[in-house]
Each structure stands twice: as C-alpha cells, then as structure tokens.
Amino acid sequence: MNVLISGGCKNGKTSFAQDIAVKLSAGGKRYYVATMIPYDEEDRKRIDLHIKDRANMGFTTLEIGRDISSCLYGTNGTFLVDSVTALLLNEMFPSSHSGEADENAVKRCIEGLLKITEKAENAVFVTDYIYSDAIRYDSFTQNYRKSLAAIDKKLAEVCNTVIELCAGNVIFHKGGIVL
C-alpha cells in the first residue's frame, strides 16, 4: 500500500503519517526516512521535536537528503518519507540554498520515489500544499512550486490512497484506509 499525505503547514501531517505507517507495517520493520538537511539551529530544533514525537514507535531513522531510493539498500518493510518538499529542495539546490536550480531534480525525485512505491512493502509520503495564496511569486519560487506540484501529481497518480489534512481533519481524495 502506498499513501500520499498533503496539506498545509503545522497540520499534524507527520504524526498522522507515523500512525498510518505503524498500522501498515503490522508489526514489521518500519523506517522513518528523514529528508531534511539541517542548516541552522531552527532546523535542528524542528528535527529534535520530530525525533521526540516518534520515540517508542519502533521506527529506524534513515537520514537521506538526496538520492531517495537509496533507503532501499539492505532494508525491507514500511517506509515513511518525510518530506517530499525537503527532498526536492535538496535535489534542486545541491550546493547551497542559493544559486541555480538543477533542472533534472524533478526527474530524479520522481524516479527515486517511484522506485520506493514499487519495491517497498508499504510507503507513506508526506508533502506540503503550497498552492493557494494571493502572492505573485518570483520565478525562482514559482519554479519550485511547479516542480513540487509535478512530483505530487505523479505520486497521487500511483498511490492507492491520497489524503489531505485540513486543520487535522482527514479528506480522502483517493482510496481509503481504516484508521
């Protein structure tokens, strides 16, 4: 079973995804694939909160900022990829967060993520919904939004279940899962 979870910020997506991953794994191996590469103290605090939140849930943490399908080497079970948003950021801007965007980033992300949907017993993907506000973004940001949307749409196509979290409430856009 493959599940895509999207929605706005600070919505409970990660906690919800963890619960789903635990359920899907049915006692089997489960991996938390952390894609965020910390750059400052704020990032590190955020990561610490996530680590505390999933303590005692039986996840093995894999820190993988790029080349996402490498999480499959020597592993098998249920994978929670958190998040597609951070993965794309790392793949688009490999050297630092400024500079030119790597135009092959979307292709690499999609190939890697699709490999996970094919090979893993179960996968849960967390992404961010960043598409509905009244801002005229610069071309840099627009390119990033468009790229993330391309990955989201591909994942939504191949996943059995697509969920939007809205203020902690669950909207099923595709499939379903007994919670």
Partner: protein, 125 residues
C-alpha cells in the same frame, strides 16, 4: 456551467480539457493586462482577470453577472488564491477579496463545481 477551482499547478486545465474535450481554440486564457472575453467555451485563469479588474478599478463579479448568458453553458477555471494569509499590499488584498467573491458567485451559478487536488477531482457541487 462547470466551475473548476484549485491551487496553482494542480492540473485544473488538463482536467477540463479531458472532461470537456477542449482544444486550444476553445480556451480563452485571462491576463492581468487585458479584459476578459466571453466568446470561447472555456475561460481559464480567471484569477488573472480579477487582478486586471483591481488594477483598473472594475468589479469582476458585476462583469460576469452582466454576461451570464454567454458563459452559462461553458467551463470556467480559477486558481483558489484566497486560501493563504492576508497579503500586506492593498492591491493584493483587493485581488484576493475580489477573486474570493467572484468564485462564490460562480459556484452558486454553476451546475457542477470541482476542486482539483494533485491532479485528482474532488466534487464540491
């Protein structure tokens, strides 16, 4: 009229083209620099037209209401730009408000309303 809303890059136009078998000549794409035309079956990117209205002190909802006959059997597509935080700039605030009001009007007039999320259809009406 079929009203299609959703976020940026979510696949709204692709959905409309497939569902209504549209080709390029059926689609009018709005611009922030020009008035809307009601002569084609599908009016796309209505949020650009509402920005044009803000810049030219026009009321988008009134313009649509006055031309209801022309679009009542058509397809209208708009980005739901009114979900995010209130923008700091007065023009952007007016744009957001005007788009929200127009979408509420178009939803009420529509025979069907869909929201497109990651390329998937969510039936709203």
């Amino acid at each position: 009229m079929d009203f299609i809303i959703g976020g940026a890059f979510q696949g709204k136009l692709e959905y409309a083209v497939k569902k209504h078998k549209l080709d390029d000549s059926d689609i009018f794409t709005c611009s922030e620099n020009a008035a809307v035309s009601f002569e084609r079956k599908c009016i796309y990117a209505v949020q650009e037209f509402t920005l044009y209205c803000v810049k030219n002190s026009l009321d988008a909802t009134e313009i649509f209401r006055n031309n209801r006959k022309k679009w009542k059997n058509g397809v209208i597509i708009c980005e739901d730009i009114f979900c995010g935080v209130v923008p700091l700039g007065a023009d952007m605030r007016a744009w957001r408000d005007m788009t929200g009001r127009l979408c509420a009007y178009l939803s009420s007039e529509a025979d069907s309303v869909e929201r497109i999320f990651c390329g998937l259809e969510q039936k709203l009406k």
